[in-house]
């Protein structure tokens, strides 16, 4: 599947999310600054299936144990950014997209879902 150029890296917000439209789908893209110089980017569906609204890009990033998660801004369920699985309701899973930072741009790939997002 082809990669789509979404926006400039500067359009991302450090340790927070933005929302992109990819072939009509809403995708939340998060930029995580772990330590100095170490950045990771994640992309998951923007739709919160429990709250029923397109809001996940506005959630708070964090970790639960070893898992990197986003907390829904509506009712605070945690979704893994690597598997898409909801920690509180494991039968609920959101799509995970491949994403990369290249040449100062953010690229999304709609093809493969729920696989480890690539690090930059």
């Amino acid at each position: 599947m082809a990669w789509t150029d979404i926006c400039a890296v500067e359009d991302l917000v450090e340790n927070s999310g933005i929302c992109a439209l990819l072939n009509g789908q809403q995708v939340a893209v998060f930029l995580l600054e772990l330590q100095l110089q170490e950045r990771r980017v994640f992309a998951v569906g923007n739709y919160d299936p429990i709250g029923g609204a397109n809001v996940l890009s506005r959630g708070i990033l964090g970790s639960v144990g070893e898992q990197i998660v986003v907390a829904s801004p509506l009712y605070k369920q945690h979704f893994s950014l690597t598997t898409g699985r909801c920690l509180e309701q494991p039968d609920v899973v959101i799509p995970v997209y491949r994403v990369k930072l290249q040449q100062g741009r953010v690229w999304l790939n709609a093809g493969q879902q729920n696989q480890q997002a690539s690090a930059a």
């Binding site: 992109a20 739709y47 029923g52 708070i60 970790s63 879902q113």
Partner: protein, 853 residues
């Protein structure tokens, strides 16, 4: 067989109820019948004066009819016993009811003694004993200005408190030369008198009342033996109690010379099938007028009836209580009557504290103590006295102020040490409860009932539990989350002392992991309370909770609502028009809020800047409806317009709202200002409530509406504006410094060791010496206030976040409105489905719920 026995109880006071309760717990099958003379089942007589300060009869109740029914206890209210027929083992009531018994328990209690004074039977000459008495007092007080209590003992001072709460000019007349002559020595009595006089209650000691005659200025005049007189509208007798023993007398049971039904160590009367417990019982020529010994007697009889061998061996009459707000404690031999006894005395004339400790001739054992004005040493001293523990080498340390902070090591107490005397819970019982799995205070309270009586042992119980937990290697944790092994209070300290300005710095120095939706908003709030940076500044933006993150309140469909500040609820017609026009232009749903302002719903994320540009241009500021921060200062219209107002409540509310707007706190803060005592702004349901008086402002603190309503506590009265603001500054800053995450002021206050009194000491008396610091911190926050929306509109970087898609100008198609009552509302899921069917399939928003792979 015990189970089939018919047990009849006469009287349902605190002791009678305790007996029934205990017997049912021990013997689920016993046939129990209760004859109750009053119109309701047992209630808390110890806290009776609370009835006049807002405690309802329901709150005073110790049980309910439903509870008795559920426990299969027969009861009969308004039921007066006429006669006991001992041969037939039959009780006859005044209505003619007949009740047979196998065992009869007399818990008839006592009645208020009315001294034989001429004129004591006139209207408005009352006693203070039952709920019915209280109602009579309230009715009489409504027609009176001055009230006198005859009797300066413990109950008399309680009664004086009641009159004072009813707004009467209150006097106490005591025959003895001092107040509380039974429990206090002369100097203690003097200190108590001084303190009570300063609280506005006039004390007359050494006065023998001879007659109550018609008065000149008031309804009555009391004439004293020494020729003096005192005018009053209401007379309340509280000159001691007398046991209700007429029933026992008339059926030939042995009674004491001065009253009281004679009982042995098994609490049996001279008839082995009849027991007497509580204030009607006379044991070794003594009547015990406190609830704890009564409970002890009740347990003795339960034990006798269920085959146990418990016996009554006397009771400790030590007591600790608050009279008219003055702390008073008395332990054991308060008068140092034991031969050879020595006394240590500490007097602080400035704080008006008196403490005396009576020790044995060799200084090794504590015999008694008197505490007035400060009973913080009471629990410690009582343990030494009750457990006969050897005193430290310098026993005076136990009452000197320096030692106040060092409570007795709970670990050193023997297992037999009584922790809760109301329910007779020993340290061993608490340890056993912990062995069986209870490991928090609430669990231990509900399983042992410790500290659920008078509550005097709360602090001691906590230290027993904490020490025990520590000795078991259980760490008592108050950690914020898995990323920080600190409480909110500790984190705030780390931030302020370390000068830490960002979450990343705090995490790298004191935390682990990446943070989460618990610690990030908490730290964001701490940073804002400490340094007041713009909350959407780069390092802070990712920390903000849902609403703070976009300076608006997210609704269920992901749209937002917008609330401009309308300080004090005052708004010009021009500004109203602006809000209306903005709502029309952006098609927003409008609703008036409970905080006297206007909420605009249905704004899309990308519309927020344009909406706010219009509002800011018209002079509006953000209302912080999204923040854990000051929301509104509600006001009534006050003296400017209202016929009853005594101060300008609107002006005050606006000034206060503008002072504290934007202040980030552990939770939201609501305030209100009322212009007179009619309280139309409902200030007593707010975190900070202010009510105007003729002389200034009364300050109420830590109230709450909402899920768990709490009336605010009256903190200080008749303040001028400057003092009022100073106190609010200090209280809010202390709250910000010490509260837990998402802890409203009401819960904060309830958890605060020492409660309201402690808060007064810190805020008014500056006991911790931090008042100036608190004020300076507040001043710094007030001076750095900036409207967050104004700042956002001027910051292109911040504005970039306010768009639905980074790569498209489209709107979120999942936000759909329909019309209802001429305004928009979010479409329901069903309505959205219907709407989806009407548009071509190619334009469908993609269903984002993924399949599992």
């Amino acid at each position: 067989m015990q189970q089939t026995k018919q047990i009849l109880v006469i009287g349902n006071g605190m002791v009678g109820h305790h007996f029934v309760d205990q017997l049912r717990a021990k013997d689920p099958l016993a046939q129990i019948t209760v004859l109750c003379g009053e119109a309701q089942l047992a209630y808390d007589r110890v806290h009776l004066s609370g009835y006049f300060s807002g405690t309802s009869a329901e709150q005073l109740a110790l049980t309910t009819e439903e509870a008795y029914q559920a426990a299969n206890i027969q009861y009969c209210l308004n039921c007066w016993v006429e006669q006991i027929n001992r041969e037939q083992q039959l009780v006859v009531t005044s209505q003619g009811g007949q009740f047979y018994y196998d065992e009869l328990v007399l818990a008839t209690g006592s009645y208020a003694f009315v001294p034989p004074i001429a004129g004591n039977d006139q209207p408005h000459c009352l006693v203070y004993r039952t709920l019915q008495d209280l109602e009579a007092i309230a009715q009489s007080a409504a027609l009176s200005k001055v009230g006198v209590v005859i009797g300066g003992g413990l109950l008399g001072l309680e009664a004086a408190n009641a009159l004072k709460q009813l707004g009467l000019q209150t006097h106490v007349v005591e025959f003895a030369p001092q107040l509380m002559a039974v429990q206090l020595d002369q100097s203690g009595g003097q200190m108590l008198r001084q303190k009570i006089t300063e609280l506005g209650v006039q004390v007359h000691t050494g006065k023998a009342t001879q007659a109550i005659v018609a008065g000149a200025q008031c309804r009555y005049q009391l004439q004293f033996a020494d020729g003096d007189s005192l005018e009053t509208d209401l007379v309340l007798f509280s000159a001691g109690i007398r046991p209700y023993d007429q029933l026992a007398r008339s059926c030939g049971l042995a009674v004491g010379e001065r009253g009281g039904i004679v009982v042995n160590n098994r609490c049996q009367t001279s008839d082995p099938h009849i027991y007497a417990i509580g204030e009607c019982a006379l044991w070794q020529q003594k009547i015990f007028g406190l609830v704890a010994p009564g409970y002890q007697m009740a347990r003795v009889v339960v034990s006798q009836l269920t085959g146990g061998g418990l016996s009554f061996t006397g009771a400790d009459m030590s007591t600790k209580l608050k009279l008219l707000g003055v702390e008073v404690g008395s332990i054991g031999d308060a008068h140092a009557r034991t031969p050879g006894a020595l006394s240590y005395v500490f007097i602080d004339p400035r704080a008006q504290v008196y403490k005396k400790m009576v020790v044995s001739f060799d200084g090794k054992r504590l015999l008694g103590a008197v505490l007035v004005g400060d009973t913080s040493n009471y629990d410690n001293l009582l343990q030494y006295a009750l457990n006969d523990m050897p005193l430290p080498k310098q026993p005076e340390q136990l009452i000197l102020p320096a030692a106040s902070g060092a409570p007795i090591a709970a670990l050193t107490l023997p297992d037999s040490a009584t922790i809760c005397s109301c329910h007779n819970v020993a340290k061993g019982d608490i340890v056993a409860a912990m062995d069986s799995g209870c490991c928090d205070l609430a669990g231990i309270k509900s399983c042992t009932r410790a500290s659920t009586g008078c509550g005097g042992c709360t602090a001691l119980l906590k230290s027993v539990v904490d020490d025990e937990l520590k000795s078991r290697g259980v760490e008592v944790k108050n950690h914020l989350c898995e990323h920080f092994a600190y409480s909110r209070q500790e984190l705030l300290h780390l931030v302020q002392v370390g000068g830490i300005k960002t979450f990343a710095e705090l995490l790298s120095r004191h935390g682990q992991g990446l943070g989460c939706d618990i610690c990030k908003p908490t730290v964001a709030s701490i940073l804002a309370s400490s340094w007041n940076d713009y909350v959407l500044k780069k390092p802070h933006v990712g920390l903000q909770d849902t609403n703070d993150a976009f300076l608006a309140n997210m609704q269920k469909d992901g749209s937002y609502s917008v609330v401009p500040r309308i300080a004090g609820g005052e708004i010009t017609a021009e500004k109203l028009l602006v809000i209306g026009q903005v709502a029309l232009d952006f098609n927003l749903y409008t609703k008036i809020t409970g905080g006297q302002r206007i909420d605009l719903f249905g704004a899309r994320l990308e519309q927020l800047p344009a909406i706010w540009q219009r509002l800011v241009n018209a002079g509006f500021e953000t209302g912080h409806a999204y923040g854990k921060s000051l929301r509104t200062v509600k006001s009534c219209v006050g003296s400017t317009w209202c016929r009853y107002g005594v101060q300008d409540s609107v002006g005050q509310a606006i000034a206060i709202e503008n002072r504290y707007k934007g202040l980030r706190a552990p939770h939201k803060i609501k305030m209100a200002v009322s212009g007179c005592t009619r309280e139309c702004a409902e200030a007593q349901s707010k975190d900070i409530g202010i009510i105007a008086t003729e002389n200034g402002w009364n300050l109420y603190v830590c109230g709450n509406g909402g899920m768990r309503p709490r009336h605010a506590d009256l903190f200080a009265t008749d303040l001028d504006t400057e003092t009022l603001i100073r106190y609010i500054d200090r209280i809010l800053m202390l709250y910000i410094r010490t509260a837990d995450r998402l802890q409203r002021t009401s819960v904060w206050m309830e958890k605060l060791d020492g409660g309201l009194e402690y808060l007064r000491k810190v805020i008014i008396d500056d006991e911790l010496g931090i008042a100036a610091e608190l004020e300076n911190q507040m001043a710094a926050l007030v001076n750095t206030y900036a409207c967050e929306w104004k700042a956002t509109l001027q910051d292109p970087q911040a504005l970039k976040r306010f768009r639905q898609f980074v790569n498209s100008p489209d709107a979120d198609e999942n936000i759909v409105f329909v019309e209802e009552r001429s305004q928009i509302r979010p479409a329901t899921a069903a309505e959205k489905r219907q709407w989806l069917q009407q548009i071509p399939i190619t334009e469908l928003p993609v269903k984002a719920l993924a399949e599992e792979n």
